[in-house]
């Protein structure tokens, strides 16, 4: 809303009056009315995506895979993924040009490819772009989890979606039904609906008095209101659909609260919840931040009592670098657990989830000590049914014209010269948005661009 433009010659007090019943306009999601277009998509198999964020980069000297192609050798940190070799693609050399030298703000554009200048507004994240087309099929458009700090998901208006943290709180809306029963929930939704109606009536009346300059903004506002309306109606309609059945074993495993001193249990339980949500088709899109850039949790069970951020600024300290490597490996082990669960679990159609689920694991930073935002650590997994061909190390560094090879010492270990590659992209055209575009397209989003993409990654 813009109350400031000169051409808007209506009484300023209209705006104040509206504030009383002002609607918080959160996620921009699907514009497709409930069940419209269901005919052509009902028979299509569901497609799913998950995004997992590891803050502060990795200890790149122990993470980087230096061999290429099909016969690549797993690095020390990525070793836990070796058993999934045929269904994963480690990717090197991508970056977001908009986040270079923007330090920890990289988490804000990891899934958006947006810009971070003082006057820039963030853009829609790829998971929400996907939710635009999957939301019509599921009870929830998307799932946002962050163990600490904020979620990874952003609306088209550049507003960040709130994150859930506690496992029981994630479980409840998906599988336990509304608090206070369906009738109470419906009453609340209908009340919200009538607030929307009132606002719309008022706004339409104002629209007649408005100049063309304001109409654009008003359109944007109306779009948001209409989306809120659709969402409310959709939630109302879903109330009559029975909740998915969850076995007692599954419920016991995930419907509980875990202290963040139990990092492994916590990570795995969120993964279990994501698997359960995909399995029962409650949602098809999920983002999971293992912790924000400032407050990614310690892992006492493997002797790490420092925050991840602190470890990442290791200053060359051997002990810190070893701990950071162990942390990376630990987080990758839990991701490996997620992939195993996805491959073992079948969806409502009876097919293994992993084939229809693309999972992207990675960070917006590679070398934390100096905030290097290039050569991002990324692993794309799953989605073979959607046409992804895995099994190689996809290395955009090697595709760069001037790339001299990785900086190795006599024993074949990476030297600190490698850090330069993590700060300045070897391949200035290899954008992470190109990979996000590939994922969006495979999800069925009809688009040729995403964020600042300049082509699409071939895989």
């Amino acid at each position: 809303m813009n109350y400031l433009s000169q051409s808007w010659l209506i009484d300023r007090r209209h705006a104040f009056k509206a504030l009383g019943t002002f609607i918080a306009l959160p996620m921009l999601e699907c514009m497709i009315p409930l069940r419209a277009g269901a005919e052509e998509t009902a028979t299509a198999a569901p497609r799913r995506s998950a995004f997992i964020y590891l803050a502060n980069g990795v200890h790149s000297l122990n993470y980087q895979i230096t061999t290429t192609g099909k016969n690549y050798q797993f690095s020390r940190s990525l070793k836990p993924l070796e058993k999934h070799r045929s269904v994963i693609t480690p990717i090197s050399g991508l970056h977001h040009p908009g986040s270079l030298s923007h330090h920890h703000n990289c988490i804000n554009v990891w899934l958006t490819g947006g810009k971070l200048g003082p006057s820039d507004k963030n853009t829609i994240s790829v998971d929400q772009k996907m939710a635009e087309i999957t939301a019509q099929h599921t009870r929830f458009p998307s799932l946002e989890v962050a163990i600490t700090q904020d979620s990874l998901a952003w609306t088209a208006d550049g507003v960040r979606l709130p994150a859930m943290r506690r496992c029981s709180k994630i479980f409840a809306p998906m599988f336990a039904g509304p608090k206070g029963g369906i009738a109470a929930q419906r009453r609340a939704l209908r009340r919200k609906g009538s607030v929307l109606d009132d606002n719309l009536a008022e706004v339409r009346r104002l629209g007649k008095q408005m100049g063309s300059g304001d109409k654009g903004r008003m359109e944007q506002y109306l779009t948001s209101v209409r989306e809120a309306e659709i969402r409310t109606r959709r939630a109302d309609a879903w109330l009559d659909t029975p909740l998915p059945a969850v076995s007692e074993t599954d419920r016991k495993r995930v419907d509980r609260d875990i202290a963040d001193t139990m990092a492994g249990d916590y990570f795995r339980t969120v993964y279990d919840l994501m698997v359960l949500a995909f399995q029962t088709d409650v949602t098809r899109v999920a983002t999971f931040s293992l912790g924000g850039e400032g407050q990614a949790i310690a892992i006492p069970e493997i002797g790490i009592t420092e925050s991840r951020h602190q470890l990442s600024h290791h200053g060359g300290d051997m002990g810190y670098m070893e701990k950071l490597t162990n942390y990376d490996k630990f987080a990758i082990e839990q991701f490996s657990y997620f992939l195993t669960r996805l491959s073992e679990t079948r969806d409502l159609g009876g097919k293994p989830l992993l084939g229809s689920t693309m999972a992207l694991f990675g960070s917006g930073m590679s070398y934390g000590h100096s905030h290097g935002n290039a050569n991002l650590p990324l692993v794309l997994a799953g989605g073979s049914d959607l046409g992804l061909k895995h099994g190689q190390h996809l290395d955009f560094n090697r595709q760069a014209k001037d790339f001299q090879g990785y900086a190795l010492d006599a024993d074949g270990a990476l030297t600190t010269a490698h850090y330069q590659l993590c700060s300045r992209p070897a391949n200035p055209d290899a954008y992470l948005s190109n990979l996000l575009l590939l994922m969006a397209q495979r999800m069925g989003v009809e688009t040729d661009t995403f964020g600042d993409s300049n082509k699409v990654v071939a895989l």
Binding site: S119, Q295, S307, H313, G315, G316, H369, S370, Q420
Partner: protein, 324 residues
Amino acid sequence: MPDNALFAAAKAGTLNGGGLKKEVERMLADSRINRFIDDFSRQWLQLHRVGMFPPDKKLYPGYDRWLEMSLRAEPVEFFREMLVKNLPMDGFIDSDWTMANSRLCDFYGLPEPATSGFQRVALQPGDHRGGLLTMGASLGLTSDGTRHRPVHRGVWLSEVILGKTPPPPPANVPAIEPNPPTSAKASLRDKLEAHRSDANCAACHARIDPLGLAWENYDAIGQWRTRENVAAGTGENPLVNPAGLMPDGRAFKDANEFKRLLIGDRDKFVQAFIEHLCTYGLRRVLTVDDQEDLKAIEAEAKQNNYGVRNIVQAVALSNLMRKR
């Protein structure tokens, strides 16, 4: 939402001239002004950043949640006092008092206050405090959990006190490789200066860094120190060096002299404060078209000896706000 009295005044057509002034007076005296005080000071001073990178428990064992909440409240209470008492703007830069509770008095090494809650306490020169810039919140909100960050302090000061956002670093900055732990202990300042050898970097950093290096006597959570604790390396912890040159070449030897130079440039930070107030009130960035109106507010501020309350009043009554 305007209250009934304000609606009534508007209906009666008295919301101009003396009538408008009276209403602004009334609103400044109303308890609801506290919403403005809490909200504006938080946004202006970027207090949401306090505790964003929680200080390491081993390095800062005294840091706890109560301290963090107290630290975050101090500048807000300070602003409240400045506004309510209509104190001159210089107080934001330096003062012989602050607003503290018992936790902060303990943290700053001040005598235990007689009553609980925030209250005005006197500061001596030896306390090394006074004004916004040497508060724990301002010094700590740019830190990263383990160490202070002079460059970030400089950027914060530039944005908050001088109203200027330095340009972001270029995208092609080479990575900083870690120092081998066997070398002699080096202060962060020494390391920074070593990395500033690149002329392209130095051009911008010469303008930013001094604004942050003046506070080298304060650690990552704002505690006074004369030596910097360096974890890696051999030898003694290095002495801190808070001296520097202002971008215009004037020298300062420590935080106190730096504050004095800032006060000498009063117009600059008063102007920045007015801009922050207007941006807050108008909810938009200011443009060149606003300059004339801003100048008028500045002139009035000067006439009123830079009283904070007078400035807020002048902004509320300004052309800018009335044609919003």
